[in-house]
């Protein structure tokens, strides 16, 4: 029982990327920051009452699922795409999609390429062990083109290879491309091609079989999304909790209806989760949004009310 384990340990083991600026990366002091990290913190806050009680386990594309299924980590928040076989055959449960992404290509401007269709015969840098690797193979085959893969192990390595010209194009999720490009010395020398060759719903995963734990993670995430929908922010959280008349907000923040009890937590779980790093929108803006060097637009990840896909089911 994961919940009991985590509580007994007093620590949440969270599998994250080894270093992808904006999503998950340690700063010089070893403090982890990023979009995925916020999910870990929210879960820790909800379950343990302390957002800092997280042990971040850096995982590579190759080790992440093994880490999860062998019990090495309790939650995997490492921009992992949901696929059919991963959900079924790999015995994972993707409980909440926190970022809707798609795979794209980045090329140097000087290459003179404007569309992915012109990449026939190109050398492409790609992280091994990812869905990207499979998508790439499919895409080029479907378009009857050839390519030479250069396999890399981490994003840092990919950047190095790409910048040195060891590959013509770098492919990964569009968000990752943006994050990477943002960190370049001269971001304007590189363009992200318009084609998005796949759907990449990035989700938080837990082990198959422990449904209660899955529920906790799922609803913790939905709490963040719902908070944005209802205008609950880290700034007005206490105020909302005390004064809001919206029954849904009252339920969410534990004023009425002890929802927490149904998943083995206390009443204020969602409040703490939101307090950890704010609601979904706040997290997005603080880590990868337009104001950050990553400069990602909300796009598909806007609230459903704004025409996006972020849609939290009702809390009742």
């Amino acid at each position: 029982d994961t919940l009991a384990d985590v509580k007994a340990r007093g620590m949440l083991n969270c599998g994250v990327n080894t270093g992808l600026v904006g999503f998950a990366a340690p700063d010089a002091n070893g403090n982890w920051q990023g979009f995925d990290i916020a999910v870990c913190k929210a879960v820790a806050a909800a379950v343990l009452g302390d957002a800092s009680k997280v042990k971040y386990v850096p995982t590579t594309g190759q080790t992440r699922f093994t880490a999860l299924s062998s019990g090495e980590v309790d939650v995997l928040a490492r921009n992992s795409t949901v696929t059919f076989s991963r959900d079924t055959d790999l015995k994972l449960d993707f409980v909440a999609i926190n970022y809707y992404d798609g795979q794209g290509f980045m090329v140097p401007k000087s290459l003179g390429v404007t569309s992915a269709k012109e990449l026939d015969g190109a050398t492409v840098c790609i992280q091994t062990g990812t869905t990207t690797e499979l998508n790439l193979a499919d895409y080029f085959r479907a378009n009857n083109m050839k390519y030479q893969p250069v396999n890399i192990d981490s994003n840092a390595e990919g950047e190095q290879q790409y910048l040195a010209g060891a590959c013509d194009a770098y492919t990964t999720d569009a968000s990752g491309l943006a994050a990477t490009r943002a960190a370049f010395a001269n971001p304007d020398d590189h363009i992200i091609l318009p084609e998005i060759i796949s759907k990449e719903p990035l989700a938080v995963a837990v082990r198959h079989g422990d449904n209660n734990w899955g529920d906790i993670v799922r609803w913790t995430f939905f709490a963040l999304v719902a908070a944005e929908e209802y205008g609950i922010t880290s700034a007005n959280l206490d105020e909302q909790a005390n004064t809001s008349q919206n029954p849904e907000v009252q339920r969410l923040l534990g004023k009425t209806d002890d929802l927490g009890k149904m998943i083995g937590l206390d009443a204020e779980w969602a409040k703490r989760a939101i307090a950890a790093s704010g609601n979904y929108g706040e997290i997005f803006n603080a880590t990868i949004g337009e104001a950050t060097p990553i400069k990602l637009a909300r796009g598909l990840n806007a609230q459903w009310t704004q025409g996006g896909l972020m849609y939290a089911p009702p809390f009742r």
Binding site: R9, G30, V57, T63, S70
Partner: protein, 483 residues
Amino acid sequence: MSEIHAQTVQYVRDTMLPPAPPPNRQSGPVLWLRENLFSGPLNIALTLLGLAAIWYLVSSIWPWIAHSVWHANSLKECRGIIAATFGEGTTGACWALVRERWSQFVFGFYPSHLWWRPVAAFGFLFVALAPVLFSDSRGIRRWVLFLAAILTVWIMDALGAPTAPLTWVAAIMMLAWLLSEFRPSLLLVMTGLYPALGVWLLWGGSLWSPIVVMLGFGVAYAVYRALERTSSLLAVVGAIAAAVAWWWWIGPWLVPRLNQTVDLAITRVASDSFGGFLLSITIGVSGIAMSLPLGIILALARRSDLPLVKGFAVMFIEFIRGVPLIALLFVASLLLNYFLPPGTNFDIILRVIIMVTLFAAAYMAEVIRGGLAALPKGQYEAADSLGLDYWKAQRLIILPQALKISIPGIVSTFIGMFKDTTLVTFVGLYDPLKATADSVRASVAWKGTYWEPYIFTGAIFFILCFGMSRYSMYLEQRLKREN
């Protein structure tokens, strides 16, 4: 009588010739040059080739080194400075990166206000090792202790250690020095206590847990001494059983109670804060300390007359030696949970240390086996005929000699293991080489630096490993002198 008459044969020199100086071409720098560099066409060619290689390397690397920049906040700034001072288009080393991020290479993410703790642990390591490594020479030991003390205190102070620990460390160092001068055998007690002290300093928490763990060894020894009279085998088995019992039941019961009475806790530091050379050295030193005894046991098992024991030892050794270390590390970090009861969770660094230890132990076993095989059979027989039993004979007669013979092999196993600690990067730990360099490079400021981190870590590895290999040569010489 032969035709050589006595007169012709007989010859006596009346005056002895004094030694004459050799002909000119027999000495001096010219001769040295001729003999060592230009003695024949092949040699001349080799010399020229060597010079060309040196010239090529120096001319391609020197400008880069010469254009070093030490003060800058980002690579861009570095490049700017280089372009400004040495002209457009020149390249240069940007050591500012090392200057700014050295702590990450050395301490990983260890909290900066606690850096003095690993430093103290490292300093004490020398105190603990001095009586083992330099057992025979008080002079060398004095120097080692002196240097260790001065450097430790100085560095701790520079890293902002509070006064209290500083005084403590200084006091302990002083005590060690006094012991080394007057009662060297007591210094070994410090060696025995070091593991507890080191673990406590590095990970923090209560001092009692490591002490209780160490006490387990004490208990084992006491049981061994008590049972020794009956049978050595029984004593060994009893000792192991007692230690296990101690660790399993009594320890967990004892520690909380001790904590309640006297609280000796300092700030805890979690394993995921470990990184850089701190991580490498932690893994390396504990691996070295544990693989030697394990290697000895494996070697003895492999030489045992009992086919089953021997068989298991052979299987274990061949398995470990036949599989790449990174596969084993992968198993340790990811698959181990499959093999343990559901819900168990133990420290990743500890797991890596265990795997590295097993790996080194298999190699160590082979090295020691060579040493054992080199001992003449007479030594075993003499021990037998004096009435020493197997364990005593091994401990008093066989192993001391076999280990001596195996020293070069043992040290090179150590060096190999220490170098292999860099592979932990592949299981997500922050080794000083790849993971740290990658994470430094991931920051916007230092994106695009390649050589500087490599050169920095490479140089430190070289110094440490080269030091170890020189030490083994010193030891070989010393042992040669002894016999």
